[in-house]
């Protein structure tokens, strides 16, 4: 069992500052995850050479992989820090240095914290909601076969961590691709009996520049998603629906 864990962290004090790397040696305890490791640094913000430094800035909240906050690059892989266990990251001899870096496709705020508000803006564009008449008592919603619920529920598990966007080769400034998460949410609401009233608007929002046709079928998203969303299936279903909508719109002109 190792007595200390070595961790190398890419740091950046402001969005415009150059990045630097700091190395820490953290006392090992069984069952440690990356967020507890970052907590240890806050308790004793001193790097491996004994030089005082500042606690690491990173996003976190629930620490049980349901709020979607703590996505970062751990050993180069986009991962949720709370569910990343140290024992699985230090190699076969438990002696390898763990590296931490911010997600690379989003603007750095500070250290490991990045600005992912683009996803929430995208959700507005595809109207990812059911346009209910009002919040007053209008009785139960429409009956729904369990099979529909079983298809919708996995899509509704998206935690907005943006890992699917980080790992997508098409998600970049050139394509302006919305990314898999937004497409999956559009499918979720198109499948809802009442949400489907906005189906055509959602499909049109996913047509054109940055829309669904930017997907290059790399399938990285579905492999990286911490919640195992059926992302490629959603993209392919929505791709078909967008195409049909475009044809309909063409003839309706």
């Amino acid at each position: 069992m190792p007595s200390t864990i070595k961790v190398e962290i890419k740091r950046q004090s402001t969005p415009d500052a150059p990045s630097t790397t700091e190395t820490f040696a953290i006392p090992y305890r069984p069952g440690m995850n990356i967020t507890s490791l970052l907590g240890e640094i806050a308790l004793n913000p001193v790097d491996v050479s004994g030089k005082p430094t500042t606690p690491i800035t990173y996003d976190s909240n629930c620490l049980e992989e349901i709020c979607g906050s703590c996505a970062m690059l751990i050993n180069g892989k986009a991962t949720m820090a709370c569910s990343a266990l140290v024992d699985k990251l230090t190699g076969p001899n438990k002696d390898q240095t763990i590296t931490l870096a911010p997600l690379s496709k989003f603007p750095v705020v500070r250290d490991l914290a990045v600005d992912r508000s683009v996803l929430f803006e995208n959700l507005k564009k595809v109207k990812a909601w059911v346009p209910i008449d009002g919040s007053y008592d209008l009785g139960p919603g429409p009956r729904q076969a369990p099979q529909i619920q079983e298809q919708r529920y996995p899509l509704s598990n998206c935690i907005s961590c943006t890992i699917c966007m980080e790992v997508c080769p098409q998600f970049n400034d050139v394509t302006n691709f919305v990314g898999a998460a937004t497409i999956a949410q559009a499918k979720l609401f198109n499948m809802d009996p009442s949400g489907s009233v906005l189906k055509e608007e959602r499909l049109r929002a996913l047509a054109g520049d940055g829309g669904i046709q930017e997907c290059g079928f790399a399938q990285n998203c579905v492999q990286a998603c911490p919640k195992q969303l059926p992302l490629t299936e959603a993209i392919s279903d929505m791709g078909r629906d967008v195409f049909i909508q475009q044809v309909k719109d063409l003839f309706a002109r």
Binding site: R29, G39, T54, V109, S160
Partner: protein, 590 residues
Amino acid sequence: MAATPRIIVVGGGLAGLAAVIKIAEAGGKVDLFSIVPVKRSHSVCAQGGINAAKDLKGEGDSVLKHFDDTVYGGDFLANQTPVKNMTAQGPAIIDLLDRMGVPFNRTPEGLLDFRRFGGTLYQRTAFAGATTGQQLLYALDEQVRRYEAEGKVTKYEGWEFLSAVLGSKGEARGICAMDLRTMDTRTFPADAVIICTGGNGAIFGKSTNSVVCTGSAQSALYQQGAFYANGEFIQVHPTAIPGEDKLRLMSESARGEGGRVWVPKDKNDKRTARSIPETDRWYFLEEWYPKYGNLVPRDVATRAIFKVVYEHGMGIDGQPMVYLDLTHLPAERLNKLEGILEIYEKFVGDDPREVPMKIFPGMHYTMGGLWVDFDQRTNIPGVYAAGEADYSIHGANRLGANSLLSCIYGGFVAGPHALAYAKALPPQEGDGGHAAELARQKKFNNQLLNNPGTENPFKLWRELGETMTKHATIIRYNAGLDEADAKIVELLERYENVNLSDKSQWANTSFAFTRQLYNMLQLGRVIVQGARLRDESRGAHYKPDFPERNDEKFLKTTKASFKDNAPAFEFEEVDISHITPRPRRYDATA
């Protein structure tokens, strides 16, 4: 009358979003403040479900039975009128969530499915797998995003509430908040403010709560003159997964679907759990509580586990752990629990479908909170509170799956009342107190940033958490509570000497944390002193030296106010206008 009433809602969990929806729907303008993007609020962590007596299982359930279960489960400390109103609105709230597109589990006929939860004999809990809180929060988040897109709601995500701005008559005229990125501190005008900032698990160091659940906003308001009620009532959830950084919840739905709690009958039994035959297992909850079995209320189950481990010395391998066993459940039942089984598997490494889980109680829920009247008003004019941040509904112990309902109910009441108040509010005198409050908060900031001390705030926090967990959770003794209060006083003194290793003014998370820590310390004293004064046992508050409930002396709401830098206490009669208090016994067989 204000021209266009502006309401500030602080906190974007279920209660806050519910309030926002009601105000935006009625035509009001809302500014919504949240430390994290609202979709990442702590409500996502709720797992098992939401209660409403829809009686879709032919059991003869009713709203009145839900009302009675809640009041009885809370050991008669809750004011009954709001509980009655909440349970009456339960079915309509479930219908609304259904219409919003929440993927609730369904019966073959396409109706909502219901499961049984603790403290009731009825299947009253609607659920979406084992991630109900997440699904509910998302549904409300989506509705608020729709209002945001329509320009009716402005979100301030990444802003932390520091204090209320109070006018010449002590009425709310806005809030002071800090941008957690630029560290800019400024005030925002409002005609009414709704506080929906959740619980205070961080005061206990490790809990099932999220990082943002510090109780800081509630404490700041208490220090500004708001009553904080029933602070001593803290729910310790019977089944949590002990962890290095936090205690992760293992939902009551695991028992609702048939999970059983046991330990080996022989404390030296070295066999693996599954190879221990039925006859060599002690299902202590089923033995002690034959009627409710594994689904006794949380305070009862927690004390039972504590007793088995510490009095009988029967913890697994001598450790403070017992088995929560799902391995006998059929696949279709396990499927309904997938979300929580994944959590266990990811964090512990064992598959709970194959190996019984090892669990232990952990701090979970804050029954106490800001004092509010039946319209969710605090005693500061124009300040409302809803959700876990207020003290209403749950009394001395919350029943499982009542929290999501109480959050939405509280938000739905607070929103319209705040709007009506704001419409009738006379104009402020002078600047409404904005300049003075801003100066007070900036002074605090400057003191912290320029303090030449030596104390690490995270170390002070760890010591606070240790003392709170030791003295103010499952078992409480007056001597221990006195010790805890003395310890917090010591920590407050050491806080004066706190040193920030990071003095920068950009996304400085330790600076924000250190501000929260001060408020945690002040609220910690409310909890331990409230517990010290209550010489009885009621719900989650248990004193071995005073093992019985004492209605004559303590059927009362504890109200703390901040006087001379310390809590001062008074007691208020509880509304028992509907159900006469009776002994709370879950061990009866009849």
